[in-house]
C-alpha cells in the first residue's frame, strides 16, 4: 500500500515537472515585457550604472531593499532571543 502510494505520487510529481519543463516559454523570448524594455532602455541613462539589476535593486526599488535588510535584522534578533534563552546564566 505504502509503496504503491509512493510510486503513484512519484509518477504524478514527475509528470508535473515534465509538463512545467516542456510547456514554459521558449528560452529568450518571454511574453509582453513593457516594463523590462523601459528599464533596459532607461537605466544606463537615468542612473548611469552598468548593472541594471543592481540599479533596480538599490535605486528604483530601494525601499524594497530597505525592507529586506530590516527583515534580515529582525531574523537575527529573533534567533538571538531564541538561542540565548537556553544558555546558562553566569
Amino acid at each position: 500500500m505504502k509503496k504503491s502510494l509512493f510510486v503513484a505520487s512519484a509518477v504524478i510529481i514527475g509528470g508535473l515537472f515534465y509538463g512545467v519543463f516542456t510547456m514554459t516559454h521558449p528560452f529568450g523570448n518571454p511574453g509582453k515585457a513593457v516594463m523590462d524594455d523601459h528599464f533596459i532602455d532607461r537605466a544606463l541613462k537615468d542612473r548611469s550604472a552598468q548593472n541594471i539589476v543592481t540599479s533596480l535593486v538599490f535605486d528604483y526599488r530601494g525601499f524594497d531593499t530597505l525592507g529586506e535588510a530590516a527583515v534580515l535584522f529582525t531574523a537575527v534578533c529573533s534567533i538571538g532571543a531564541l538561542f540565548r534563552a537556553g544558555r546558562k546564566r553566569s
Partner: protein, 157 residues
C-alpha cells in the same frame, strides 16, 4: 565541536582566503558585474562558517567575537538608511551623486554609479554581520553544556 580532520583543515587553510577575496570583489564591483551586497556578504559569511566547521569552537572563538558582527550589522543598516534619506528632497533612495548624461536632470560628482556602490558596501557589511551572527548564536546556544560535561557531547568526526 571537535576540529575536523586534517584534510578539511588544510583545504580550509588553503582555499578559504580566496573566498573572502572573492566576496570582497563581488561587493566592491556590485555596480558593473553580477552580484551585489547580498551575494558578496553571503560569500564572506560562508568563510566564517567554514572556519567554525573546520577548526571547532574553541579555536574559533579566539578569532571571532560576536559583538563585532553585531556592530557591523547595525552600522550597515544605519548607513543604508542614512544614504537613502539623503536623497529625500526628491524622493527616498534618490541617486543624488550620480553623474547624468547631458540633457538629463540628474546631477552629481561620482561617475558610473552614484549611491548604488555605497549602498552595496553598506548592505554587504549588514549581510556579513547578520549571517555570521546567526551561525555564532546557534553554535553558542546549542553547545552550551560543553563546559559542564567536560568535553564534547556531539557525535563529531
Amino acid at each position: 565541536m571537535k576540529p575536523m580532520s586534517l584534510i578539511v583543515i588544510t583545504l580550509t587553510r588553503v582555499f578559504s582566503w580566496f573566498m573572502i577575496v572573492f566576496g570582497a570583489m563581488v561587493i566592491m564591483n556590485g555596480h558593473h558585474t553580477p552580484g551585489g551586497g547580498f551575494q558578496g556578504g553571503a560569500v564572506v559569511a560562508t568563510f566564517i562558517c567554514f572556519l567554525l566547521a573546520a577548526y571547532g569552537g574553541k579555536k574559533f572563538f579566539t578569532w571571532v567575537k560576536a559583538p563585532i558582527y553585531s556592530g557591523l550589522e547595525t552600522i550597515g543598516l544605519l548607513v543604508f538608511f542614512f544614504l537613502a534619506c539623503l536623497g529625500l528632497p526628491n524622493s527616498f533612495t534618490y541617486n543624488f551623486i550620480a553623474v547624468a548624461h547631458p540633457g538629463e536632470v540628474l546631477g552629481g560628482w561620482l561617475p558610473s554609479c552614484g549611491t548604488i556602490s555605497l549602498m552595496n558596501i553598506a548592505v554587504g557589511f549588514e549581510v556579513i554581520g547578520a549571517l555570521s551572527l546567526t551561525v555564532i548564536e546557534m553554535y553558542e546556544g546549542t553547545h552550551m553544556n560543553e563546559s559542564y560535561f567536560g568535553g564534547e557531547c556531539g557525535h563529531d568526526r
